[in-house]
Amino acid sequence: MSEIDMAVIKPEMMKPYVWLQTSDDSIQQVEQEIAMFCPLICQEIIQKGMGSSKNCAICLPQQVSPAMLSLILDYCRFHQVPGRSNKERKSYDEKFVRIDTERLCELTSAADSLQLKPLVDLTSRALARIIEGKSPEEIRDIFHLPDDLTEEEKLEPLRNITADPRIRLLNRLYAKKRKELKERERLKNIEVEEEHVDERSVDDLLSFINGNEGEPKGVKTSKNKKKNRRKKEQQKNSSSKETSELDKKEVNGHDIRHQSSEAERISESSYLHYAEDGTSTPKSDDGDIYDGIDPALKEKIDREVEDFARRLNSDWPERMQELLSSGQDRKTLLFNTDGFLRRHACMFSLVLQYFPFSIICFLAEL
């Protein structure tokens, strides 16, 4: 039986219907009351008198497939019932958008083409929530988008450099070296307990000598009351917009690959070549540190680490001299007579004169 016959046979069920043609050219009959919820359909019916029969079916935009129409009509059918509470509607909406992303996209497009604003808002928000917190790659995957920005355009400096095998190996070597040094120190301390005590007495001696100078009578006066309290203001209406990725996205960038390799070359010049060892990130327990590395290379690496430690140690005496001689100048820069001194992160500016001596004491252990 045709639909028209049905309507004749059951007059008590007669509701106005409207004919809609979806993107696959199929035509279906839909309760007019529901369909009118969509502004576009409403417009077609009222202004153009379309949709009253199969022959003058309203041609829906090509974004509206039968499946999408069905969803949209479900939405309309629910919401056009006046008695529902806000809570009910919200709950329905939340469930309604729990569909896979592809269908959600289709639905957004379809709703937009029918000018059904509430549904467009609902689906757009849902899409926004999907996008939030994801990386560009993830977003591309989800929405099947092309990766068509050039490297320059991306200006992608956030390469994870801890994946660099040289860095990883270096970390493991340091861990081993440190373990050895610690052992040596432990043996040393057993014999030479007094050294520890001596360090402290140097400090005590200093505080005795410098006790009076410790008063923060600064030379430099600051203009107004500069509040130097350490604070990280997060008060702006509870949203802390700390990250700035602006500089990452600029178009007028330089050749990234060139720069990365430059940076690597600097690393290389400091530490020479190491074999790639594709293993996981180092922990402090490094018993297997030399796994898979051939003995000749191992020896070379050992020498490098020794050399590194030696260079560190030998540099200090000269540097200490320089620091000691410039120590006085630095002190005056860091104190001031500001009445709001307690607002300063005084932890940083205190007792500068202890600094050079403490450093020496520290390094004695190395």
């Binding site: 929405f143 400096p157 509040k227 700035s244 307690r342 932890m347």
Partner: protein, 584 residues
Amino acid sequence: MPRLAYSFPEEVLEHVFSFIECDKDRGSISLVCKSWYEIEAWCRRRVFVGNCYAVSPATVVKRFPKVRSVAIKGKPHFADFNLVPEGWGAYVFPWIKAMAAAYPWLQEIRLKRMVITDECLELIAKSFKNFSVLVLTSCEGFTTDGLAAITANCRNLRELELRESEVEDICGHWLSHFPDSYTSLVSLNISCLGNEVNLSALERLVSRCTNLQTLRLNRAVPLEKLANLLRGAPQLVELGTGTYSTEMRPEVFANLAEAFSGCKQLKSLSGFWDVLPSYLPALYPVCSSLTSLNLSYATIQSSDLIKLVSQCESLQRLWVLDYIEDAGLEVIAASCKDLRELRVFPSDPFGLEPNVALTEQGLVSVSEGCTKLQSVLYFCRQMSNAALDTIARNRPNMTRFRLCIIEPRAPDYLTREPLDAGFGAIVEHCKDLRRLSLSGLLSDRVFEYIGTYGKKLEMLSVAFAGDTDLGLHHVLSGCDNLRKLEIRDCPFGDKALLANAAKLETMRSLWMSSCLVSYGACKLLGLKLPRLNVEVIDERGPPDSRPDSSPVEKLYIYRTVSGPRLDMPGYVWRMEDDSALRVS
């Protein structure tokens, strides 16, 4: 299938993007593909520039044509401790000038640690017809005349906040420049102004602006006037008092208490200069609904503090002086179960002996009792590894942890050992830790812990710590999300910096002062990494006059897409990159 992308009209995508506001997400969107990049740029309303020299105003304005709200930060954080000399830079004028031309509909400007002159303020007042929000945090360079230009011309001004800024206070009448017809004020913060403002103008302003929610007065506003101001704005949500002391008179007290009772929406209190404790009970009616309390200027003793905070059961944020003592913090741990942020400031930082009974125990108590505690800034004189370990285990939800043991290189007071293990526990247990400041005696070991566990760490502040370059190397190679690193007085030199040069391009900035980085290393970095500005700050004179091996005084390295800045003072040298040598 490309089908998906192309079936989205631009307006739809724009509409989706309109629900995405977080800068990081906007950044991600713009990197997805060309069309998204363009659409995102076109509909971007809000821009945050974390370092004013990372990008030029012209670039921003060109890429984002429809911006309504801008936030820019200038000087490095250590400028707060006077480590950045005068005249260093961070001038906002080029930004205002570019935006005046490009964004006639700009509504909001928020600046931090920037220099803004009266000329800038006048330009703002003249150029943006819909201007509504001006927030200046830790800024300087302007006077009350500049403010007068804003108040006289910005008819739609909603927020005017001067937070901790240095303002040359010429005349208090700038406030009177608001026309009588002006009623749109929502937020006014003048707490940093030194002189009196015209009080009657203020009273009239406050009472006619019925949407006023935030009012932070300056110290010069006497306590006797506070009640009247409150009566004029019973809808206030945030209040900063002026001086909180006057001769004790019962009628003044009663008046004040009644006025406070009338403010049913009050959630945040601050100010409290020169507190007379007997006036504190006037606050009791509002205590139970307070979520934020800033007593960092209130020199009141422990017992009075305890009486006050013990009633603040809804408190989420508390800033207080160390007069609170361990006993007070225990009370807080018991009463303020909703506490999220605690800052305890030192009352006498330069005294050699402790003046208050505040130790590590106070912080331990709060970490036990306040399960939502996420953000801590704590000044104290002693700390132990055991306490830090306890705190870490109690509060794995900690996201910001800044500990300031007043004496540099102070060891664990119980064991005399370095505090490596304690801070190690913090980074190990607090997996979402984003910000960390270290203090006390620390060896390279603590940096190894930080590099191993501090995977979400974004900002690290270090002073008087470490033994060798290894320390710096651990941090640079281990902390994947590090954005800002600031170091002073540590024995870190060239090796770690050069070995991890590539890392610097993934960070916003690195500050190193009184360390051991040589001029030669700075030159090398500058030469090889043109997308960084490597700036040597040295007030001793040109670094060329000293050997290459000589350590520089201060070093500030930041990534940028706009090349060298053109406003460097005489004591700042940028290390040239070899693009300067290339023929164009």
